[in-house]
Amino acid sequence: MAIVQQPTFAGLPPSARRAFFALVLLAICLLFAFPVLWLILTSLRPESGVYYVHRGLEFTLGNFAEVLRNERIVEAFVNSGLIATLATALSLMVTVSSGYMLSRFRGPSASTWFGTIYVFRCVPYISWVLPLYFVTQSLGIYDSYLGLLLPHIAVHICFFSWLMKGFFDGIDPSMEYAALIDGCTRWGAFLRVALPSAVPAISALAVLCWLFTWNEFLFALILTGQRTPVITVVMAQFVSEMGLQWNLMSATAVMALVPAFALTLFGQKYVVRGLKI
């Protein structure tokens, strides 16, 4: 594909062309990384230096220590982590089996289910997130783990079932038939034969699902209150209530970025695959 671009720089010698290309890339990377770098720099500045981040060279880790002393924030981190992990595990369990059903079965029940999923995938979620508040309240799970967890699982059902169907469609079912003939139960054929071949695709989806839930804001804002703080909501409150303490704000945000960055660095293969689905 290099052919497409080359004529633009044809007048330049190859080394100059390479240098120019490298510079452009560097500029782009800096531009995209700058807000994050700036946030990290701010989080390392003492309170006295935070308003002049670009001047002075005092650095401290005190902001992080101070944030970690705030019980509400620590609780929010724990809650967010737990909810994201549980939501990922449960929604994958639910959607793997529903996607498997869509892929392997024909007939009225499969086509009805497929139609339902297709229709509800198109409903924009603002029209069900507001009344969810009443649903969770009347079920007595408002502002609790369950009250946030179950809607989060429900959010992903349509889209993920659809993706899972695609994964299973790509796996040859003859192995499962062979297992059935050999006396394996249907559950055995599903769990021990089909599922292992879908693991790479499922891992990609798991990474994305975890990130979605960790980063999610609107559901958490509506479905949680004082008892179950989660990190995105706490930060958004922080920015309006304690808007002047940018060093603490930044330290909190940096800590919230850590899991996401760890995933980018170590799970990049899965992230990229997941995004290309």
């Binding site: 995209f32 924009p124 009443f134 429900a154 980063n215 990229v272």
Partner: protein, 299 residues
């Protein structure tokens, strides 16, 4: 219907297994998506305030009051459409440019990919916090830089259009890498022969892009645009964190409008009506986009 024709698969063990597989998903869907939609639709016709749900039937009163609200017609709707247009177009163009640039082998490709993935991993709320700090009127780095080169700093978040610009910038920063990644994957799956032929004929880079790359990439672009446009329409978190809809409700988008009415003004009925109006609009926009893009793909 296949079931009836098939002698071995009467409603029995096989069908039970199939139903069992979807039961948890179906139950969750029913309880947390279907039921809320029904409650919301019901509430939109009633006098249903959050602290005093009288639930008297009002008919289309809420719909009328939203559709005649000058705030909704003159601020919220234009904002939402402008936001959708600029943020999708901006991210698409920058993303396409980057994808073309990255579509070659060079050292450090992995590193560039990692950096470009960063914004995708950042929670919108955090992105909004970062940009809000950078554009802080007194201490933000943007004003500091402007003042060193002799331009007067702006109270960015206190003026309608500059605040709106910061919102757009945040969204474009967040979503450009997504376009880059998908378009790059698209570019890499294109056949090589036409490009080689063009190179032999000495075709200019622009003509290659215009008459080869772009037409072949159209389907990918179309899909990206539809998905992103529908998402952009319901953007909530970055606006909420950056401006809260201010100054003076001038940067409110449609999701924010529905939320403000339901949970801050405590008028759940009107909020639901606004949400349903928005849902209908996005459905129409989505269908129209889909039609247009289908034609684009076939052309």
């Amino acid at each position: 219907m296949q079931v009836k024709n098939h002698p071995h698969s009467s409603f029995g063990e096989r069908e039970r297994f199939a139903l069992l597989l979807i039961t948890p998903a179906a139950l969750l869907l029913l309880l947390f998506q279907v039921l809320p939609i029904i409650i919301g639709a019901n509430a939109s016709f009633r006098d249903w305030s959050l602290n005093n749900p009288k639930k008297t039937w009002l008919g289309f009163a809420h719909y009328l009051s939203v559709l005649t609200d000058p705030e909704f017609l003159q601020v919220v709707l234009p904002n939402t459409f402008l936001f959708m247009l600029v943020s999708v177009a901006g991210a698409l163009m920058i993303g396409l440019g980057l994808a073309l640039l990255l579509n070659r082998s060079f050292g450090g490709q992995k590193l560039v990919q990692t950096v470009l993935l960063l914004p995708l991993m950042v929670a919108p709320v955090i992105a909004a916090i970062m940009l809000r700090w950078m554009f802080n009127d007194q201490f933000g780095i943007v004003n500091v830089v402007l003042e060193t080169i002799g331009i007067e700093g702006q109270p960015w978040m206190a003026q309608r259009w500059s605040a709106f610009g910061v919102i757009l910038l945040t969204d474009i920063w967040l979503w450009t890498p997504w376009f880059t990644l998908l378009l790059l994957a698209g570019l890499q799956s294109l056949p090589r022969e036409p490009f080689e032929a063009a190179a032999i004929d000495g075709t200019s880079a622009w003509r290659v892009f215009r008459y080869l790359t772009l037409p072949m990439l159209r389907p990918v672009i179309a899909v990206c645009v539809v998905i992103r446009a529908i998402d952009a329409f319901r953007t909530f978190d970055i606006v909420w964190t950056l401006t809260g809809g201010g100054p003076a409700r001038s940067t409110e988008l449609f999701s924010l409008y529905a939320y403000v009415h339901a949970f801050l003004n405590l008028d759940f009925g009107k909020g639901s009506a606004a949400a349903i109006i928005g849902a209908v609009i996005i459905l129409i926009v989505g269908l129209a986009l889909y039609r247009i893009l289908n034609r684009v793909i076939r052309a």
